[in-house]
Subunit: 305 residues, 2 copies
């Protein structure tokens, strides 16, 4: 029986590439694994897959009775609905420890670094397995994406080291230029619906029994959102009701200005204001220097619940 | 501010040695850490500490506001009471993934092997740090203890490999003889009270909202318990009431016969019977081949709740 490897429900580049790169490693180590995805891929992921000649992993959302490895998450809210009926063999992640539990011992590679693929690179090194050129290229791009080309406060020396080594394997000299190209693809928001944008990189968190959904869009220039702010707010309201969420937050991150415009729809806006010591104006506020949902948003929200 | 490193509330040899060995490694890597313990040490641990010339780590049970590393557990039920107010920097463990969560990213080395010190040995190798002779000796003994001298079904190739390499560093040729000596110390139960015996290696688990306490005593010959069975049952009843537990189980493991006598006090004995497909007689049953609480008891109990 094959083991399925997948990332969180709304997959970003790191979780799609992570499923592919971890699956290749595990197969080289003699396991029988299949990378899959839980949801649609983003334009950024499509761009990278095409660039390196890979197909997207198949869509699979039910895992009852299956052996699985998880990449890039350990929260029930980001898991398939039947995760409790699956047998979790391991987790590779770089986020906080979530609320998933297991009945049996497992293999966790969880590190406080900027990207899951940095950890997977370390796993390749640990096991002495060579990384194919194209997989190295995709892993490198996942690191550039998650660390916002090393600008995010989540970026560690381990990430830059892994990224540079992967660039060498992939034979890509100007990896920062490729990173920028990737973020320009990400910045093309005009062809997407508000729902597509709000949910493109959207994660639910359980905080003291409340569901808090936090989305993030990273662009080269925030002004691309000027014409669609009202529509985004409208859609966040709908998303809040549909998911019986306590709050829906959207971070519009400007990677050049290094900061994020935070959009908020919440039952208790004051909790959000307290978390960041700010005042919202018409459900918005600029957070200077904030690039990382994981490090600069979630821990502060957690304290309010 | 120093970071505290400790094992579960009722510390066994693995969690005491794990705190010492992980602390030495972290300090060599430039961190400032202090090994501590949450409870009394066992006769087995005292024997090993004395043999290798180490003092027991200091007792410390409050960690509010402190940075901590956890060794050998990830369950709230086995944590200090104020663990939610501590800042968990990392976890080294070889059990199922428990219900601890964190607000921020962390470093988890969790592996499905027989002993936490096997993982810590791998961490030393990973970082290229030399293990002092005496620490290697204690780590070797922790592996021999947790794997019941390689007889437990939890024992993996990684454990035997780590153990043999540690024996070499410690310059101990006949490590199995030392392991046996250790289990003979463990088998000396006559000088202990029933409460000391029931709680010597006792862990609480949260299963569907119920507290299930499971103790284990490993001896060279089960007949040492013959005269005290009734007293053990009596004390388990008290322990059940004191801790508002759903069940208290005690495994009396015979390491030569390779099996365990299971003692049960429970609100729903039929759940225990169903878990192992057995019938209890006067609250007892022999489980042939059962050596491991982690692998042969907990996962089967979990399924009943």
């Amino acid at each position: 029986m094959a083991t399925y490897i997948f990332g969180h429900t709304t997959p970003d580049l790191d979780s799609i590439v992570g499923a592919l790169s971890l699956s290749y490693l595990k197969n080289q180590l003699g396991e029988d694994t299949i990378p899959v995805r839980q949801g649609n891929i983003t334009p950024e992921t499509a761009f990278i897959l095409e660039k390196f000649g890979y197909e997207a992993p198949e869509l699979k959302t039910e895992f009852s009775g299956e052996d699985v490895y998880l990449v890039d998450f350990s929260d029930i809210a980001q898991s398939p609905k039947d995760i409790k009926e699956a047998n979790i063999l391991g987790i590779v992640d770089h986020h906080k420890l979530g609320d998933l539990t297991t009945a049996a011992p497992l293999e966790c590679w969880i590190r406080p670094v900027g990207c899951s693929n940095t950890i997977i690179k370390q796993m390749y090194d640990y096991h002495g397995v060579e990384i194919p050129k194209e997989i190295a290229g995709m892993m490198m791009c996942a690191i550039l994406s998650d660390t916002v080309i090393f600008k995010s406060p989540t970026c560690t020396k381990e990430d830059t080291k892994a990224c540079k080594e992967l660039a060498q394997i992939a034979e890509i000299k100007d990896y920062k230029a490729l990173g920028m190209e990737m973020f320009i693809v990400k910045s093309d928001v005009l062809s997407a619906t508000p729902r597509e944008l709000v949910t493109r990189d959207f994660k639910d968190f359980n905080m003291g029994g409340n569901t808090i959904g936090v989305g993030q869009l990273e662009v080269v220039d925030l002004s691309v959102f000027d014409a669609m702010k009202a529509d985004l707010h409208e859609d966040m309201k709908k998303l809040k009701i549909e998911g019986e969420r306590h709050s829906v937050l959207l971070l519009l991150t400007d990677i050049m200005k290094v900061g994020s415009q935070l959009l908020v729809i919440s039952d208790e806006s004051e909790k959000i204001e307290n978390a960041f010591n700010v005042e919202l104006e018409e459900g918005e506020v600029w957070l200077e220097g904030v690039m990382s949902r994981k490090k600069q948003i979630i821990p502060f929200l957690e304290k309010q619940f």
